[in-house]
Amino acid sequence: MSLDPSHLEYPNRREGYDHALYPYRALHQAPAVQWPGGKSVATWLCVSLEWFPIVPEDKPFRAPGHMQTAYPDYRHYTARDYGNRVGVYRLLDSFAKAGVPASFAVNAAISERYPVLLRDIQSAGHEVIAHSTDMNGTIASTLPEADERALITRARDVLAQACGAAPRGWLSIARQQSFRTADLLKEAGFAYCCDWVNDELPWAFTNGLINLPLNHELSDRQILNVQQQSVDSYAEQICDAHDWLAGEAAAQSSARMLPLHLTPYIIGLPYRMDAFEGLLANLKARPETWFARGSDILESYRSHM
């Protein structure tokens, strides 16, 4: 038995990456960043609004949170839609109470189905970014290029119509892209995406598109659903992260980001909301905190480039 000789050939074994999507840069080599007002921790609330068709298509893959039982999966269809009816309004109220802005990554289907929700998000001053068409709109390299381009432009156009301006940001479902996605997003006029979790400051793809790293390890989905920890532990972990980042920013004289990816059907449950509101108040009271939308972070970061 032996492996094909290609298994011992390493055509991309060279300094830098084994791809040309973006160049290498260590965080400590990045130019020092200061956020507005001398704040050192940009705290970015990013809420995903997801509509799951009860008929999953699995092309190219099934989104996290999608249907699980034999058809018709009422329990997951409705439990996910709970987030769009109830949970998201709890979050909007909590943001208003704390006086903080957020980004909302929105499936185009949410805008088409629930226009009042889009208006409520916009009138509160939050940012709307694109989050594909609906939760069947997954992307991977196995998706034909024409289909991927159509998906991206449709998501853009629906939100542009609803919001009066094209969204500047993009979040892929499950953060999964194809090898073409960065170019297609650039071509569609997006300024940034949030899919690559390799850094703690914004960085540029080779084609100029910016990546705003939306840490998946700090997401409510990862901590509460995947790792099945309590909301009290979640809040404690976020505070521990903030403590560390504020200390690191002071020691290294360069600001940091604390991205909090939120899902209304997860964090917006009644028994979790008190702890979440307590977390927001805690973070708000810290002198280092700058609550910022994705586009605010992008603008501030660009002013340093």
Partner: protein, 291 residues
């Protein structure tokens, strides 16, 4: 090993009870070694017929970029905490990292860390290799680490823990003297090989950060408490044991985890019963012990 036998014949049975108590240099009860995995995962590796590299079609964006965090951000966060509290690293190295990100490897070398091989890439598996292919990755490992760091590797942790029946015999033949792939004991033990002098260096899956966070789903503070309990128990026993803390900086170096982890190192360093050491130093002290 005895290929095809029900007992692979790697070692003799030695019960924990009744072993001669032993102390590490300075009379310390636990040799504590920290083993950062400095890895490179390829974005589009060839498909090994015996194991898939990534769950998603390439590029697996979260999988790849999560690990890329190590080489951009969290290596330094983890390494600074280790240096601050006096813990050297013994690096489980994807040796191609010497080509891709030489300044990560140079940073570890400058801190006085030891390197052993964890294969060429963590996306190239040994399953299915013939002997010549396996010799090629061992020789590549020895050559690459020597050229990049001046060090001669002494240890092996199979790439992504993928082995063949001949791996241990081959690394012993090439003069490597410890393996991190066997988990049968809290003390080093001789390993039966055709030639050479190989010992098993206690590594750990159970307190590996990957297991802590993704198998046992621990919170950062729970994982920190786990490491302290592991340490306290070993330090209380008379045997003279080894505690390994295997790490991946893209996990332990996340902003919500590094603070609780620093408290672990602070605790162990202050306790006084620990010998913070490199794997090679532990192997030497064990071989030189008075029997």
């Amino acid at each position: 090993m005895q290929e095809g036998a029900a007992d692979p014949g790697l070692y003799d049975y030695v019960p924990y009870r009744g072993r001669t108590p032993f102390a590490w240099p300075g009379g310390k009860k636990v040799a504590v070694w920290v083993s950062p995995n400095l890895e490179y995962y390829e974005i589009d590796p060839p498909a090994n017929p015996h194991r898939k590299s990534w769950p998603m079609p390439h590029p697996d964006v979260v999988g790849y970029s999560h690990r890329d965090h190590a080489n951009r951000v969290s290596h330094w966060r983890m390494a600074d905490v280790m240096s601050k509290h006096g813990f050297p690293g013994s690096v489980s190295l994807s040796v191609a990292l010497c080509q891709h990100h030489p300044h990560v490897v140079a940073d570890a070398n400058a801190r006085g860390w030891e390197f052993f091989s964890h294969g060429i890439y963590n996306t190239r598996y040994s399953y299915g290799m013939d002997e010549a292919q396996e010799r090629a990755i061992i020789e590549d490992s020895i050559r690459t680490v020597r050229e990049a760091t001046g060090q001669t590797i002494r240890g092996w942790l199979a790439p992504a823990l993928t082995h063949t029946p001949r791996t241990l015999d081959l690394i012993a033949e090439y003069g490597l003297d410890y393996t991190c792939d066997l988990y049968h004991d809290d003390q080093p033990m001789p390993v039966k090989t055709a030639t050479g002098d190989l010992i098993s260096m206690p590594y750990s899956l159970e307190v590996n950060d990957h297991y802590g966070f993704f198998i046992y789903n621990m919170s950062p503070r729970e994982y920190a408490r786990t490491l302290i309990r592991q340490y306290e128990r070993l330090a209380d026993e008379p045997s003279g044991t080894v505690m390994c803390i295997p790490l991946h900086s893209y996990l332990i170096g996340q902003p919500h985890r590094i603070g609780p982890f620093e408290e672990v190192l602070r605790h162990i360093a202050a306790d006084g019963r620990a010998w913070p050491a490199r794997a090679g130093e532990i192997a030497d002290a064990w071989r030189g012990r008075a029997l």
